[in-house]
């Protein structure tokens, strides 16, 4: 696979070879120029050549992109086999193959076009607001995912697997909402208190598995899974209590959060994007700083890499474990708080946090547990979610397809060896894509 001469031939490699062909057609001058700029004598590869070689190597970017493609292919197959009309055309595919191909193409291309139009840009948009609307939707879905993703990523770097982002987000949303409609505070301060309450709720729910892990060695994966469900049952109990439940409603919904505790909207009242996305960018920066520049971050990574060595070096492993889980919980709690303080909903319902905690695990893995990677991954997931809504209402393709796509993307990026084998990728120059070694219970 490392032999560059083997490149043409396989149909999978068409993009790269086409690109190469185009470059040779432009002429040799460019190549000569490139050679002079790099200045290396003899066999030193040119910049352009390096780019081409890396384009089809198993690096992070290529594998992620191809995982996305693979997931969409599987999604297309699911769409086709679940559509009786299109499926019917396959019964006479030998007689008239064009029917089956056309019907499938129309179905799939229309669905994915709607996915794009709902998340990035709709060419048919008439007004400025309408043109901005898909981006606004995407950002609205992205913001909480950044927080839960960061929560999982931060814990992962410290050697802990935080499956409890869902429960921490639930506790965060509970405390944020309670602060949002129970405390009579002036605007500004009210919002600040509500956001901090959300962080506190998550931090408490992160502290429990952290201290249990540090003191008794109880595995955080088990405890966080259990705490997720305890949080959900606590939420469903709390909603119907006096003072919490909306007095005008009989179903399980709480009073709405006061306007003074709502996050301000970014692009005016017509669009849903809110200041949560700014908080998300700040949080990403803060986590990146914490991990890479602070003493605590160093200790955290040391404990994550090898707790025994860290202990020998004088780092308190138990203290670090507790701190990691408190920080991770606070992040997830912040993400949860946006579900009522933002524009998604204003009141608590049993499903108010949706799946942001579990999605956060996928986001963290897709972002390679690096803060800015997590932010980008959350953006992709947010876009899929926003586009999925449009796909559902315009093409009638169930929103569940988005869940399938998200899960498949992560399955593929988690197994780069599989993607590498399917597309016959070259080995990456820097082997950064090692698979993780599981640690078990």
């Amino acid at each position: 696979m490392s032999d560059p001469n083997a490149q043409p031939g396989s149909p999978d490699k068409e993009p790269a070879s086409e690109d190469q062909a185009a470059r040779t057609a432009v002429g040799n001058t460019e190549r000569a120029e490139a050679a002079t700029t790099t200045g290396g004598p003899g066999p030193r590869p040119t910049l352009g050549r390096l780019f081409l070689e890396n384009l089809w190597a198993a690096n992070t970017f290529t594998v992620t992109l191809l995982s996305l493609v693979l997931a969409m292919v599987v999604g297309a197959v699911l769409m086709i086999i679940s559509d009786p009309e299109v499926l019917a055309t396959y019964s006479y595919i030998t007689a008239r193959p064009s029917d089956a191909i056309n019907a499938s193409w129309t179905l799939v291309s229309e669905a994915y076009a709607n996915l794009f139009k709902g998340s990035v840009f709709d060419p048919a948009a008439s007004s400025f607001n309408a043109a901005l609307s898909p981006i606004s939707e995407t950002l609205t879905y992205t913001a909480p995912l950044v927080f839960t993703g960061l929560s999982v990523a931060l814990a992962f770097r410290g050697g802990l697997f935080n499956i409890g982002a869902q429960g921490q987000a639930t506790m965060g949303v509970i405390l944020a909402a309670l602060a949002g409609f129970l405390l009579p505070l002036p605007p500004g301060l009210h919002l600040l208190v509500a956001v901090l309450a959300g962080a506190l709720g998550g931090a408490i729910w992160g502290f429990i598995p952290g201290i249990l892990k540090a003191r008794t060695g109880a595995h955080e994966v088990i405890n966080t899974i259990m705490l997720n469900y305890i949080a959900v049952y606590f939420l469903t109990w709390l909603i119907v209590q006096n003072g919490v439940q909306d007095p005008n409603r009989t179903d399980a919904i709480s009073r709405p959060v006061d306007a003074s505790a709502q996050l301000p909207r970014l692009f005016g009242d017509g669009l849903r994007a809110h200041a949560g996305i700014i908080l998300a960018v700040l949080a990403t920066w803060a986590v990146a700083w914490l991990l890479n520049r602070s003493t605590l971050g160093f200790e955290l990574r040391a404990v994550g890499a090898n707790p025994d060595a860290a202990r020998t070096a004088g780092i308190s492993v138990t203290r670090t474990y507790v701190l990691i889980m408190v920080f991770a919980g606070a992040l997830a709690g912040l993400g949860g708080s946006q579900m009522v303080l933002g524009t998604t909903a204003a009141a608590l319902t049993p499903l108010v946090v949706a799946q942001i905690g579990f999605d956060g695990i996928l986001v963290a893995l897709l972002g390679r547990v690096k803060p800015w990677g997590v932010a980008l991954a959350a953006l992709l997931f947010g876009a899929l979610q926003a586009g999925g809504n449009r796909m559902q209402s315009y093409s009638g393709i169930s929103l569940e397809l988005v869940t399938v796509l998200q899960a498949l993307i992560v399955i593929f990026i988690a197994a780069p060896a599989l993607v590498k084998a399917i597309f016959q990728l070259r080995a990456a120059r820097a082997a950064r894509l090692q698979t993780s070694l599981a640690k078990g219970w």
């Binding site: 699911l78 679940s82 559509d83 009786p84 992962f156 050697g159 697997f161 499956i163 249990l212 892990k213 003191r215 008794t216 060695g217 109880a218 595995h219 994966v221 088990i222 405890n223 899974i225 259990m226 705490l227 997720n228 469900y229 305890i230 049952y233 606590f234 469903t236 109990w237 994550g304 890499a305 090898n306 707790p307 025994d308 492993v317 474990y321 799946q355 579990f358 996928l362 893995l365 547990v369 169930s398 569940e400 397809l401 869940t403 399938v404 998200q406 899960a407 498949l408 992560v410 399955i411 988690a414 197994a415 599989l418 698979t435 993780s436 070694l437 599981a438 640690k439 078990g440 219970w441």
Partner: protein, 426 residues
Amino acid sequence: MSTTAVPDVAVASVNEGFWTRTRKVGLVLVALGLLATVLFGALATGEQARFTLSEDAAGAALEINGTVGAIVFGLIALAAGGSMLAGLPKRWFVPVLAVGLVAFVLSFLCWQVSAAPTGQNFMPLVNIVRGTFLLALPLIFGSLAGVLCERSGVVNVAIEGQLLMGAFSGALFGSISGSVWVGLVAAAIGGSLISLLLAVFSIRYLVDQVVMGIVLNLLALGITGFLYERLMQTDAARYNSAPRFSNWEIPLLSDIPLLGPALFRGNIFLYLALLLVLVIHIALFRTRWGLRTRSVGEHPTAADTLGVRVLGLRYRNVIMAGAVAGIGGASYTLALFSFTKNMIGGKGFIALAALIFGRWSPTGALLAALFFGFADQLATYLGAINSVIPGQFLAMLPYLATILAVAGLVGRVRAPAADGKPYIKG
């Protein structure tokens, strides 16, 4: 995503001087006993609390005055806790603990039943036992799937997904073919498809098994939800009206009072679950396959040295686990309900809890599943008699119990040593 093996932090030693584990548990039990005697006793009414041996208020019943019952059983729990505090020999620990806990539950029930609205001061034990088993069914199948997987060293967090896929394919193919048996086989295949993915990715591609489990749960949720909306919602008559197994009455056994009507008039899934517990227990501890499975789960290198095909055995066990869980999922769609989106609703994770609470053994898993099923059934019962205890807190019980168990407060649980660690032959 690279995590190296992290051994658990130094475990706080359990036997520190006077406060041994027995004494700590005894202290908790004393507190529970006091609570039962004082609080439950005070809140219970003088009504007779009747525990009827039938499905309604009629028939033979065990009766006790509510206040007296609450206090007496509370005192028994107190005495059990006290004896532990006084320094009970270790071999008496489990029986005395069991007596204490059962007494606490009985005291609680005496209070609840006697405080129920007039005319409802009875608890139909047949219903309770039957409901317990019914609610425990998916948990039993799910935790057995966990036992098969994890005993051979593959963490199975995907139980939820396997149950869901089983329920879905059972409903789909049962409806299309019109045969329950086709549905049952399809359910087993559906469950094993999810575990095939788990096996391939965790054994062949060395993906973190917990990660893979979580992702597979989402995948199963997405695929079944998607196909449900596309197929079953548009044409329910064709795709979502699976035939159902009828109840089989076992002659003689079904005439036993209490247990007969509750246990021996069930459907095939109930018998299958109990049979599987027995079979897996015997197979795991008495056969060559079981010895190999356990050795692969504890020390794969040693097993490999002795000629056991580690990876092959793991593949086989994981796929079998999927089939078992798939059948568990079908116990919903081929016996009780038609398929709905996310119909398993977290039962897979309670099954995981049951597996851990039952210490990775088939019989332990059965008992844990029954305990969790009982908590669930009790929540339903208390809801029906307008109890002051919110059902949500009872629903939390399985999860709380598991946290207490893994934290070492109710005895230490230990996973198979190589559970979750991929084996790389080298």
